[in-house]
């Protein structure tokens, strides 16, 4: 609660005082807003997905004491219509490279937080040029947070939040690795399943939370026969009509 109030207060203060916040309408890419704070060596703050630049306001405030902090809104954050056109991680990386060019930054420090910290590792090999160009211009930092495998633990129990510092050679070597998260679904390991109901349960990711074998008969039957619900609805409608006639 205290952190939320601090973030809210900081966001409102920065939004009201930041004179450099403007719309980047001339860009073909869609960082609809940028924000600049402070003065000094440039550092580009890259927000994570579903966070936005307002979430970076507290950190930008602190870094602005010694850096010229530049951050921008990722595509899709402010413009929901941008989500109608699917984009990939490589597009976000290209946006970042283009944004740095547009800002005429020669060697900025790039600091990605949350999911943006994963970009160097998750970038498909096709964007080699982007990352190489980007890494030659400066250095990249990434802030990552470990969590438990199943679900993020409450803040009071998570004891580690290390930033991983990526240097240029690391970026260049990391981009040559195949991107694990960019694999098509068909590449995933599929267990051998006995029947259609199990396959459907796995496909719908119901296995962990829903035991098909102990499900009601109607659910199991629906898994086994996709057209069963439609036929049952039709039969119910017909029986209702017959009942009304009589």
């Amino acid at each position: 609660m205290q952190a939320s109030l601090m973030w809210l207060e900081s966001s409102v203060r920065i939004s009201a005082q930041a004179p450099h916040r403007l719309a980047a309408r001339n860009l073909p890419i869609t960082p609809s807003h940028i924000a600049k704070f402070g003065d000094g060596p440039p550092i580009v703050l890259v927000p994570g997905l579903a966070g936005g630049i307002d979430l970076l306001s507290p950190l930008a405030n602190c870094l602005a004491k010694n850096f010229r902090v530049i951050t921008y809104q990722l595509r899709g954050e402010d413009d929901c219509f941008a989500l109608r056109q699917p984009f990939q991680l490589s597009d976000l990386v290209s946006d970042l490279a283009e944004f740095i060019d547009w800002q005429c930054l020669e060697s900025p420090t790039v600091f990605g937080v949350s999911s943006a910290a994963y970009w160097p590792w998750n970038t498909p090999p096709v964007t080699d040029i982007d990352w190489t160009a980007l890494s030659c211009k400066g250095r990249a930092l990434a802030l990552s947070t470990p969590c438990f495998r199943r679900w993020p633990a409450p803040c009071s129990t998570v004891s580690l939040s290390p930033p991983i510092i990526l240097h240029q050679p690391v970026l260049q070597s990391a981009i040559r690795r195949p991107a694990k998260a960019q694999r098509p679904v068909s590449f995933r390991h599929q267990p051998v399943l006995a029947n259609r109901s199990e396959r459907n349960a796995h496909r719908m990711r119901l296995v962990e939370s829903f035991d098909v074998s102990s499900a009601p008969a109607s659910h199991s039957r629906a898994f086994a026969d996709p057209g069963w619900r439609k036929r049952r609805a039709r039969a119910t409608t017909q029986s209702g009509r017959l009942a009304r006639r009589h």
Binding site: L56, P58, K65, N66, L143, T145, A153, S159, P162, H167
Partner: protein
């Protein structure tokens, strides 16, 4: 980035010149809950190459 601690160790070991900086009692949004601490770490890391005044 949300990764289990074991994967974090792999990342740390696979990155040359990387630093592992634990932030006690912080969650995923450490840059929101503890911005001063994160800024201090960034400043410390960059201070060896960039002449900056101490925070």
């Amino acid at each position: 980035m949300l990764v289990p601690p074991r994967s974090l160790a792999v990342l740390r070991d696979g990155i040359d010149d990387s630093q592992y900086q634990p932030l006690p009692n912080c969650g995923h949004l450490a840059f929101v809950t503890h911005p001063e601490l994160v800024a201090q770490m960034v400043h410390t890391f960059l201070a060896d190459e960039v002449a900056l005044a101490a925070i």
